[in-house]
């Protein structure tokens, strides 16, 4: 009997020992693979920064247009890779803003210069100053990164950062931390801040702050169009509620409406919620709820989103479109015409664009989401409309349609022409001719500037995705 239990004990011990060792090895294996992927991202980042520094310096010495274009496009490519590699390191909980800013600015500057030189322009004195400034910053990053290399020689280093970062985000909260006090948990926060690799990166970041911020002409990175449609005076909460009632379906205008929050972004706004008076309509299958954002200045509706189940389709797409059009008209949005529609489960999203004469003003766009069951307007989006409202009055068309068409590639077959004001990739509003063209089975929308004749945009139409009306 005793011998029998002895054997059993021995077998069990052996079994668990083998199981444990296998588990440990599997864990080690995964840890090494993770470490390797971080190492790869780090070394690639080092390579990208080295290349950026060299290329920026070389580009300043070159006087050949062709060489310069190669330097700028290579730098642009390396900067894009650097951003991708930096994004793969476990730094999401640390402020690496300065390094990220450097990378994105180099990318944008070199792209601009590539276009400038390619378009026949010359690298100006100001451009050279910017290049020089960024080359200095690149040198600083390069040297900081190379100083970090010994940190990686002995032990796996990224694992520690990874663990500390995860501890910060996935630590189970002890009954919830009050706002403003969160994160002050010395053991976990400390281990991240005391990590030698993190320390080195923070030192690099601090060092970078000592360099002047060179900036460059044509920097559009932080460009945001100044919204011009928010005209009028400040409104009260009660006024916001009254405005909100106008936008919901007629049957819902006497339901409960209240301001639930204020928005403090670029455009301060009230969030107004409309919910059913009847308790039983607040939960379950027939429940609904609408939230709207109404600007504090002027009381303009920015967006509206309604949450409800949509029943069987009773409306055709074109009926829904007309409903939307009438809805906008009844609320005082004049001259809006439907431009495109996208169908989803139970709803259709239609975009309406302002038309002045025969010119479509694309930036002044309002999107509506219309329910297929009863034509209720479920959602509304007017940020673009309110940003660009009234910026264009009577766009000039010096080039004739035939002249503009002459700028198209000869192989394209023109199927339709429209006049349209668009925002180009320099964030300017330009009057264009929109040519709907065909090349074999492919369809393209091509925009030719009505003043300069430049090709401003080429859009490929993907069949079945958006129906252009």
């Amino acid at each position: 009997m005793r011998r029998w239990t002895g054997w059993l004990f021995g077998v069990l011990t052996l079994f668990f020992a083998i199981w444990g060792i296998t588990q440990y090895m599997a864990k080690q294996n995964l840890a090494i693979r993770l470490e390797n992927s971080y190492q790869r991202a780090f070394y690639e980042l080092t390579y990208n920064i080295d290349s950026i520094e060299t290329l920026l310096t070389q580009s300043m010495a070159s006087n050949s247009r062709e060489r310069q274009m190669k330097f700028f496009s290579d730098t642009w490519r390396q900067a894009s890779a650097a951003q991708s590699n930096l994004g793969q390191l476990p730094f999401s909980k640390m402020p690496m803003a300065r390094t990220e800013k450097f990378i994105s600015q180099v990318e944008a500057l070199c792209f601009n210069l590539f276009r400038k030189v390619g378009g026949g322009g010359d690298v100006s004195g100001g451009n050279l100053d910017s290049l020089k400034g960024y080359a200095q910053q690149a040198k600083h990053i390069k040297e900081s990164l190379s100083k970090m290399q010994p940190l990686f020689e002995n032990n796996p280093s990224w694992e520690g950062i990874e663990k500390a970062t995860m501890a910060q985000i996935v630590a189970p909260g002890k009954g919830g931390t009050a706002p403003g006090k969160a994160g002050k948990r010395p053991s976990e926060a400390g281990s991240l801040e005391n990590n030698p690799v993190v320390k080195s990166f923070m030192m690099m970041e601090d060092g970078l702050k000592r360099y002047p911020d060179p900036d460059f002409e044509g920097n559009m990175l932080n460009f945001r169009e100044r919204p011009r449609g928010f005209t009028g005076s400040q409104i009260t909460r009660n006024r916001a509620i009254a405005i909100a009632r106008k936008f919901v379906a007629p049957g819902k205008q006497n339901e409960l409406a209240r301001v639930v929050a204020t928005e403090k972004g670029d455009v301060p706004a009230f969030h107004v919620e409309v919910i059913p008076r009847k308790q039983e309509q607040r939960r379950g299958k027939n429940s609904w709820r609408t939230l709207m954002s109404i600007s504090q200045k002027g009381g303009h509706l920015i967006w509206m989103i309604t949450e409800r189940n949509v029943g069987k389709q009773k409306l055709t797409a074109s009926e829904a479109r007309v409903r939307g059009q009438n809805y906008l008209k009844s609320l005082g949005y004049e001259g809006m015409e439907s431009l495109a529609a996208e169908q989803f489960d139970g709803v259709v999203n239609v975009s309406y664009v302002r038309k002045i004469g025969d010119v479509w003003i694309y930036p002044e766009e309002i999107k509506l989401q219309i329910a297929h069951d009863n034509g209720e307007i479920l959602a509304f989006e007017a940020m673009s409309y309110l940003t660009f409202k009234g910026a264009v009055r009577a766009p000039a068309y010096p080039l004739t349609r035939a002249q503009a068409q002459g700028r198209l590639q000869k192989r394209l077959k023109v199927e339709r022409v429209r006049k349209a004001v668009i925002v180009n990739d320099r964030f300017k509003q330009v009057a264009t001719y929109e040519f709907k063209t065909a090349l074999g089975k492919e369809r393209f929308l091509i925009y030719i500037n009505a003043v300069t004749g430049d090709e401003e945009k080429v859009i490929r139409e993907i069949p079945g995705q958006t129906e252009i009306i």
Binding site: S84, I169, G180, N222, E263, K264, S293, W303
Partner: protein, 150 residues
């Protein structure tokens, strides 16, 4: 005997019917076509904001898209979603839970241009521990349990 077999088959059919009715909804073909980022965006919304009001889900989707446009973040939805440690649900694997149909609808709305976050690039739950520096961001609004910041 035959009666028993018949009842058993009816029971099986009922189970099958219940399963068909209750299983997580697949996106329709029209939704799937729309964008490569669509499914991933829906997964992230599902992982991060399942219990939130629909508007809050759209706002989370909009934050991801705002990040992909922002110069200081990776340029793609996948790059933003999988940035190491950026989202708790990705780190913990919750984005692989079955996706609810409302998450798909929210992803669709965000991709169609709705941004209830007011242009935010951060969001967090103030009642959970978060890293200290995130509180230095400018808070724009609050929807459901999340605050949205730039």
């Amino acid at each position: 005997m035959h009666k028993k077999v018949g009842l058993f088959i009816i029971f099986l059919l009922l189970v099958l019917g219940a399963w068909l009715a209750l299983r997580p909804q697949e996106p329709t073909e029209a939704q799937r076509r729309t964008s490569y980022s669509y499914t991933l965006l829906a997964r992230l919304i599902n992982g991060e904001a399942r219990g939130e009001p629909y508007v809050g889900q759209v706002a989370v989707g909009a934050v991801i898209l705002n990040r992909a446009q922002h110069p200081r973040f990776p340029n793609t939805v996948a790059g933003v979603v999988y940035q190491p440690g950026a989202f708790e649900s990705v780190s913990r694997g919750q984005i692989w839970t079955p996706v609810k149909s409302s998450s798909y609808r929210a992803a669709q709305a965000a991709l169609s241009g709705w941004d209830p976050s007011g242009g935010a690039i951060y969001f967090w739950n103030p009642y959970k521990p978060v890293s200290r520096w995130i509180w230095s961001r400018r808070i724009i609004s609050r929807i459901g349990k999340h605050v949205f910041a730039r």
